[in-house]
């Protein structure tokens, strides 16, 4: 069902319409095939970039779409309702542009951002390491200062779009301790950089997640973003925004599951009536609808705070927590609505349930979101 959205401007309405057209024609038509065969949708990100969907929340002067988060996130939600893996990769791309856009010098911004925001360069975000996920400060990958730049050595993990992206927001150590991490704009291809085999994941099959191995690759000085030692601060401020992207992905996924479940419940008959007319099942669907609406309302509230220049870190964590838990519950219940059929790969709800699980884990597990929220409360 088409979501009836409250949008701030006519141009936002046009943007959502464009997104729906592309999502229906280019995503919904290809998703099943690629998720099943675990193949990457070649050319799709170029198409999304050409349509202007990969730089939406950044300034127009730099080639972005000049859209508020309130609008950008609803675009992500629409994409996620057709293809979660693609929406996640778009959200991660936006996240990867963040350090350059917010912490880059004017020169760095002019040099890199136009290509990044037009989607001519697709980005990944490389913070996690095998031993440093929730505890990002425990990362070990080294950036050693040398003449004219840095030599990077160490292992990164869990990189969405790993091996395919054209650049990575890379976090590596220039000194010991929490203030010893720095942020770099790393190219996707460099001497001394290799990627591992894609992880065999529960879902999001069409976009690979890989490790990266740095063996003394050289990055010129100009690729340091912000000051040395500012990395963790950059990483966390980027994630505040990134989490909203994941909340929007989760909401889109939950919406898709609800739509499929309602359509099925209007068709399927037991005991002489449509299953939606059995109160027990109708109420399950009602709870699912409530879950989707709460997820959307919560991320939009955080987004509007961000757009208004208010603090939103706590609200972003609440949104990520609420929306991803809602997605898990709604997709699980969607399988329930389909009965035995829901447990087979014949129907999309089976995939939705697998895709929902990761939303509770990446860009800060939901335990970590609670940590952020409780720390705000303890202030």
């Amino acid at each position: 069902m088409t979501v009836d959205r409250l949008l701030p401007t006519p141009e936002a309405a046009d943007l959502i319409e464009l997104t729906r057209e592309i999502a229906d024609r280019e995503l919904a038509s290809r998703v099943d095939e690629h998720e099943r065969a675990e193949t990457y949708p070649e050319g799709l990100f170029t198409l999304l970039g050409d349509a202007g969907l990969l730089g939406l929340p950044y300034p127009e002067e730099l080639g972005g779409g000049g859209q508020p988060y309130e609008v950008y996130l609803q675009v992500i939600e629409e994409l996620a309702a057709r293809w979660a893996a693609v929406a996640v990769a778009c959200s991660v791309h936006t996240l990867a542009c963040f350090p350059v856009a917010e912490y880059g010098t004017a020169r760095q911004r002019e040099r890199w951002l136009p290509d990044m925001l037009a989607g001519r360069l697709v980005g990944g975000y490389s913070l996690s390491e095998p031993q440093a996920g929730s505890d990002a400060g425990a990362l070990r990958c080294k950036a050693e200062k040398v003449e004219g730049g840095y030599r990077i050595s160490g292992n990164k993990a869990w990189i969405t779009h790993g091996g395919i992206a054209d650049f990575y927001a890379l976090f590596a150590r220039t000194a010991e301790g929490g203030r010893g991490i720095s942020c770099f704009l790393a190219p996707g291809a460099a001497d001394g950089l290799t990627f591992g085999r894609p992880e065999e994941k529960m879902g999001l099959h069409a976009v690979p997640t890989t490790t990266a191995h740095w063996e003394g690759a050289f990055l010129e000085d100009d690729r340091l973003l912000g000051a040395e030692g500012q990395g963790l601060q950059i990483a966390f401020s980027a994630l505040d925004s990134g989490r909203l992207g994941i909340a929007a992905c989760a909401t889109g996924l939950a919406q898709a599951a609800l739509d499929e479940a309602v359509a099925y419940a209007k068709e399927r008959e037991t005991f002489g009536k449509k299953i939606i007319d059995h109160q027990g099942l109708g109420f399950l669907l009602a709870d699912m609808a409530a879950g989707v609406d709460v997820a959307r309302a919560t991320y939009l509230d955080a987004a509007r705070r961000r757009d208004a220049g208010l603090p939103y870190s706590r609200q972003a964590s609440v949104a990520k927590l609420v929306a991803t838990d809602a997605a898990m519950k709604v997709t699980t219940d969607a399988v329930q609505v389909f009965g035995g059929y829901g447990y087979t790969r014949e129907f999309r709800v089976e995939r939705y349930m697998r895709e929902a699980k990761i939303m509770q884990i990446f860009e800060g597990t939901n335990q970590i979101q609670r940590l952020v929220i409780s720390r705000h409360l303890a202030r």
């Binding site: 046009d14 943007l15 464009l18 057209e21 592309i22 050409d50 349509a51 202007g52 969907l53 779409g65």
Partner: protein
């Protein structure tokens, strides 16, 4: 090169389409109006030609006020400006009078090349390109699968049942294109924003020097006498292959006079 691409707004083929009970013309209010899908290929080809040879692409649409949505979409894809031929007097025009009205508008706009889709998904006459060329006194190169312009020479591959014909002419000319010719682009978000500022000129019959007594329902050469809802499709015949499947299919096709 001054390229004019003719685009029609048609009811969405995905929705239910109806004729009006009063004058038996298409009910354009009942369905969502969309760009005639086959015209998107014409737009793409026009934009490609402009990108290769320079110049300007003008959209020409004949249709009611609502057709501005379609014009905006084509402008968002990259066309430079638009002419909207719109007048109550044009309502109910058949192919012959439509070609007359559009030819008058084209004379006023001026052109090196006119590009059209192969047909519209609502009326499906597929004759407009030929009629326009005739009325304008320029060569017609219809059903093109490939278009090449070289100075004032134009060459197309004209799709046929057996392959293609090579057709050459000199500009100005009228070309219609088939679906195989290209992959139409999506508008971009920036294109949508830019389209709002592009000029759209509205022409009435008087502005385009169209004689009102040659257009509209009353002056149409063809007349819709009656219409009925298409009967529901009958259930298909399933042929089970028990070694003789091929023969059974041949028999079936022969009984329907297909072979």
């Amino acid at each position: 090169m001054n390229i004019v691409v003719c685009v029609k707004q048609v009811p969405d083929t995905a929705t239910e389409r109806k004729l009006r009970s009063d004058d038996k013309t298409l009910d354009r209010e009942a369905a969502d109006g969309v760009v005639n899908e086959l015209d998107e290929y014409a737009v793409e080809e026009a934009l490609k030609l402009k990108e290769a040879h320079g110049g300007e692409v003008t959209v020409l649409t004949m249709g009611p006020g609502k057709a501005t949505e379609t014009i905006r979409k084509v402008l968002a894809m990259g066309a430079d400006k638009a002419v909207h031929l719109s007048d109550d007097a044009l309502h109910g025009s058949d192919a012959l009078s439509t070609s007359y009205a559009m030819a008058q508008a084209l004379k006023k706009i001026g052109f090196d090349l006119v590009v059209l889709g192969s047909e519209s998904t609502d009326a499906r006459t597929g004759v407009l390109a030929a009629m326009l060329a005739e009325r304008l006194g320029v060569p017609q190169l219809t059903l093109a699968n490939k278009v090449e312009v070289n100075g004032s020479a134009i060459a197309v591959q004209r799709l046929t049942d057996y392959g293609y014909d090579k057709v050459e002419a000199s500009l100005p000319a009228v070309v219609s294109v088939v679906e195989k010719i290209n992959e139409p682009r999506y508008p971009s978000f920036k294109g949508i924003m830019a389209a709002k500022k592009k000029p759209v000129e509205t022409l009435g019959v008087a502005d385009a020097e169209i004689s009102a007594d040659q257009v509209g329902l009353a002056n149409a050469w063809s007349e819709v006498v009656d219409f009925a809802v298409a009967p529901p499709r009958a259930a298909g015949t399933v042929v089970k292959d028990e070694g003789d499947g091929g023969a059974k299919i041949a028999e079936f096709l022969a009984s329907k006079k297909f072979v």
